[in-house]
C-alpha cells in the first residue's frame, strides 16, 4: 500500500489534542491511519463496532459520562445510522464523524453511487451539519473547525473526506 499522506497522522494528533478518547469505526481503508493509531494508542479506547450506528449511540453515552468520542465511517455507513441520529438530534448531543466518501468523484464501482450520492442529503435531513474537504491543505483547518462546532457548540457535524482528497479506489472491471 502506498505511503499515507501526512494529513492523516496530523489529523490523529489533532483529535488527541482535542481530548477525544473513544474512536469507533467499521474498518475502512480511507481511515486506516486513524484506526491503526487508535489501536496503538494506550490512552484511548479503540472501538471496533459491528455497524456504524453503534458508534452514534457510543458518542451519546460518552457525552453522558463526560468523554469525547468520534465515529470514523465510510459513506455507506451513514445509511446504517439514520434512526440513531434521532438520539443525537432530539437529545442535542454533540456529535462528530469523519466520513470517507465513496460514490462521488471518479468512483469505479456502480454499487457505491446510490448511498454515496445520498450521504450528504441524509446527514442534513437528520440535523447534521456537513463540511466537505477536497484538498489536503484543508483537512486540518476543517477538522479543527468541526471539533469546535461539535465540542464547544455541541452541534452535530460530519466532515466529508471526498474522493478528490482520498483518491478513488482502483477497480479492474472484474473487481468487487
Amino acid at each position: 500500500m502506498a505511503d499515507a499522506p501526512a494529513w492523516q497522522d496530523q489529523l490523529y494528533d489533532l483529535l488527541r489534542q482535542e481530548n477525544i478518547t473513544q474512536f469507533s469505526y467499521v474498518p475502512d481503508a480511507g481511515h486506516r491511519i486513524l484506526i491503526n493509531r487508535s489501536i496503538a494508542d494506550p490512552d484511548v479506547h479503540s472501538v471496533s463496532v459491528t455497524t456504524e450506528e453503534e458508534g452514534v449511540a457510543l458518542q451519546a453515552g460518552a457525552h453522558l459520562g463526560g468523554a469525547r468520542s468520534v465515529l470514523l465511517m465510510q459513506s455507506s455507513g451513514v445509511g446504517n445510522c439514520v434512526n440513531f441520529f434521532s438520539l443525537i438530534q432530539h437529545g442535542r448531543f454533540p456529535f462528530l464523524t469523519f466520513v470517507s466518501m465513496r460514490g462521488d468523484f471518479g468512483e469505479g464501482n456502480p454499487w457505491q453511487f446510490a448511498m454515496g450520492q445520498a450521504t450528504q442529503p441524509v446527514l442534513e435531513a437528520s440535523g447534521i451539519t456537513c463540511v466537505r474537504v477536497d484538498s489536503p491543505e484543508d483537512v486540518i483547518p476543517t477538522a479543527k473547525a468541526a471539533c469546535t462546532m461539535a465540542y464547544q457548540s455541541e452541534q452535530a457535524v460530519a466532515v466529508l473526506l471526498t474522493q478528490k482528497l482520498l483518491g478513488a479506489k482502483a477497480f479492474s472491471t472484474g473487481g468487487a
Partner: protein
C-alpha cells in the same frame, strides 16, 4: 397452502396474571438492580424503561430512551468506557436487543469490567400489540451474549436465582449479562419527561457537576 412452521404464534394481548413458575418483571428488575443510588443506568425504550422507573424512580442517574430502538447497549458502553470507576447498568428488552445484537460482540471483545447488561425477556413485542418475539420461538439471547464473548452470562427463570444474578451484575470483574425471563403482563407505563436533552443535562449535572 400448509401452515408454515416459521410463523409466530398469534397473540392478541398480554397475560392477565403472572403464571406459576414465571417471574413478574417489576419485581425481577428491582431485585436485580438492588440499590440504584450508586450506579449509572441506561435503559431501552418501553417496558424496560418502565421497569427502571418503577425500581429507581425518575432519578438523574438513569437515562431512559423512548426511541432510537437498539441504542441502549452501545450507549451504556460509551458511558462505561467514560466512567471506569462507576458501575453502569443497561436494562433493555429482548426486542430492542435483537435489533442490534451485534453490539454484544462489540461489548464482548472490549469486555469493560464495569458494564452490566440486563435483558428483560417477555417473549413479546408488548408495545405494539403483544406479537410474539423471536425468543418465544426458540431464540436464546443468553447464547448470543456468550457467542459475543461476554464472559459472565446467566439466565434467570426463578425467584431463587435473582439474588445471585444481582450479585454477579454488581461485582463481576468483566462484563456481565443476565437474561431474565418474565411473564408477558401489561405492567402500566410510567410517566416521565420525554425531553432527551433535559434528561441529558440532568444526568451530567448529577454525575459531572455541570452540563
Amino acid at each position: 397452502m400448509s401452515k408454515m412452521s416459521s410463523k409466530p404464534g398469534l397473540r392478541t394481548g398480554p397475560e392477565e396474571k403472572v403464571q406459576d413458575g414465571m417471574l413478574e418483571r417489576r419485581h425481577a428488575v428491582k431485585t436485580l438492580l438492588g440499590d440504584t443510588s450508586d450506579i449509572l443506568i441506561v435503559t431501552g425504550l418501553a417496558g424496560a424503561k418502565d421497569d427502571v422507573l418503577a425500581a429507581a424512580g425518575d432519578v438523574p442517574n438513569a437515562y431512559t430512551l423512548s426511541g432510537a430502538m437498539g441504542a441502549a447497549t452501545a450507549m451504556g458502553l460509551g458511558l462505561a468506557l467514560a466512567q471506569p470507576k462507576k458501575r453502569v447498568f443497561v436494562v433493555t428488552g429482548e426486542g430492542e436487543l435483537l435489533m442490534n445484537v451485534g453490539t454484544l460482540a462489540t461489548v464482548g471483545v472490549l469486555n469493560p469490567p464495569n458494564l452490566s447488561i440486563v435483558c428483560v425477556d417477555n417473549e413479546r413485542y408488548g408495545e405494539t400489540g403483544w406479537q410474539e418475539s423471536h425468543t418465544g420461538r426458540g431464540v436464546d439471547m443468553a447464547k448470543m451474549a456468550e457467542g459475543g464473548c461476554i464472559p459472565n452470562v446467566r439466565t434467570v427463570t426463578k425467584e431463587s436465582e435473582l439474588k445471585d444474578a444481582g450479585q454477579m451484575l454488581r461485582e463481576s470483574n468483566g462484563t456481565s449479562f443476565v437474561l431474565v425471563k418474565v411473564a408477558p403482563t401489561d405492567a402500566p407505563s410510567i410517566h416521565r419527561s420525554r425531553d432527551a436533552s433535559w434528561h441529558k443535562g440532568r444526568f451530567r449535572e448529577a454525575l459531572l457537576g455541570s452540563n
